[in-house]
Amino acid sequence: MNHALNSGDTAWMLISASMVLLMTPGLALFYGGMVRGRSVLNMMMMSFGAMGVVGIVYVLWGYSMSYGPRSIAGLFANPFDLFGLNGAITDSAGDYVMSGSFPTVVNVAFQLTFAIITVALISGAIADRVKFSTWLVFSGIWVTLAYFPLAHQVWGGGLLSGSADGLAARIFGVTGAGADATAAVAPIDFAGGTVVHINAGMAGLVLALVVGKRLGFGRVATRPHNLPFVMLGAALLWFGWFGFNAGSALSANGTAGLAWVNTTAATCAAMLGWLLTERIRDGHPTSLGAASGVVAGLVAITPAAGALSPVGSLVLGGVAGALCAVAVGLKYRLGFDDSLDVVGVHLVAGLWGTVGIGLLGAQTGLFYGGGVRQLVVQIMIALAAVLLSGVVTTVVALTLKAVMGWRVDSDAESAGIDQQQHAEAAYDWGNLAGGVATAFAGTAGKAIPSGNPVPARVPLTGAAAPEDSIHSIRTEAHR
């Protein structure tokens, strides 16, 4: 079963993994630019924190739970079989274990990055108001209970895959026989419409409800503080998404190329679709709309990137852009504070993309004469993902609410979560704006004996201070 190593495929998977990893900081910028300047750091830290926690968890038990050798009822794989990647990297002879044409360790790299970004995506729903510690704990638990199982079910040969034991096989039967038997109509999730986007989108919805609205939601202005960051973030996402989608071909081949072109076609169409909707509805096409449209298109094409024609992708993307542009306004009417529209973008476009394959799929789509069977299967996996994510997230979120609490106190939320959770300010333009005048007040570590002549604690003498610098010394009198 160990194939020969194909260095071209390996190179492509290595770079794809790197590109997908870059998506999470890209998301941090995309989200960070959208919040107010006093909570941008916390917003970005949710993404970085997810990287830290999920990166570790994935190495320890994540890969094993997703792609380990023993499936538990098609729901998840045994987390201990490949714990710490033991046995996943080299075999007893010391040779690298292969996954198809490239080493398994490269697959670990690639898959790990998907787990990270899925968790990070959720954070947009609960901007500006949650404890960083609760978020970190949530990241570790949620990825274990919601992400790894779904990855196993869809991609690891579990219940929602095209395997002969899967649900699709039970509905429409199998083709082939024996070990080669697969579902006659296999569900299609090329790069993560269900596992990543529906999963994160539903989790965002649940968290927004459990955590509750920001102070002043729908009343106080919370416009984006840095739209160029949002655009740069969207661009890094787009770039990384080539690794996400074209990398999901798991080979440097024509399918990867098709996925690349489809990804771009859908994204371009979605961007214009969103802008057109804004132009008609609000009078102006906005840069936030362009960036959002880019993401909506990327999400929608994710499950479909290998299954559509480029022209089909244009249609899928264009619809996604318009659909999400309408959906993001819904939260104000329904009254839940999905702050950065994880639901409106990821859940909506994830559902549309997953189901849209049943309509637009080049071979099996309804509009392409493929009948309704693919459509039925696609709806089935979409609903299963909604259900799984909804239930698991609800349980985890409520438990954490009871045990640790989600919200920072309202004074802290008002004053700005960056200052309260991280004791930092994102920007210092070197002026007084925002009342910022700062002074060095000593070094870290309360253990410094107070008699210690740390230079910083020597009060400012007559020595000329630098021009322009607003400084002061925290003297004893101030304490």
Binding site: Q419, A423, E424, G434, G435, G442, R474, H478
Partner: protein
């Protein structure tokens, strides 16, 4: 005429503006300021170095009013700006010799 200057907490600006409008004041000028007083700042830590931020963000609001309205306007601002917590700020009044509306060149109360 009088120039009323109020140093208030930023989040009270909206209420103060509305209260003034309701009272009949039709214009005002606001700007950013940083206050130093009983209300202390906070500290921040970067790579183990601690910095104190001693000045607190405030908003300065200036409104020119007819002398006979001065006390009332101060009262209006006081009510709308007050939270009862340290750092609520100050309001003061200064005599004004004359005021001109730039657009029309009108002088005195007519310029407001």
């Amino acid at each position: 005429m009088k120039l009323i200057t109020a140093i208030i907490k930023p989040h009270r600006l909206e209420d103060v503006k509305e209260a003034l409008e309701a009272f009949g004041v039709s214009g005002m000028t606001v700007s950013e300021a940083s206050g130093y007083g009983r209300q202390r700042g906070h500290s921040e830590v970067y790579r183990g170095a601690e910095y104190t931020v001693e000045f607190v963000p405030k908003v300065r609001l200036e409104v020119i009013v007819d002398s006979i309205d001065a006390t009332d306007v101060m009262e209006v601002i006081l009510k709308a700006a007050q939270t009862g917590r340290i750092g609520d700020g100050k309001i003061w009044a200064v005599p004004v010799d004359d005021v001109i509306r730039v657009r029309t060149g009108e002088h005195g109360p007519a310029a407001l």
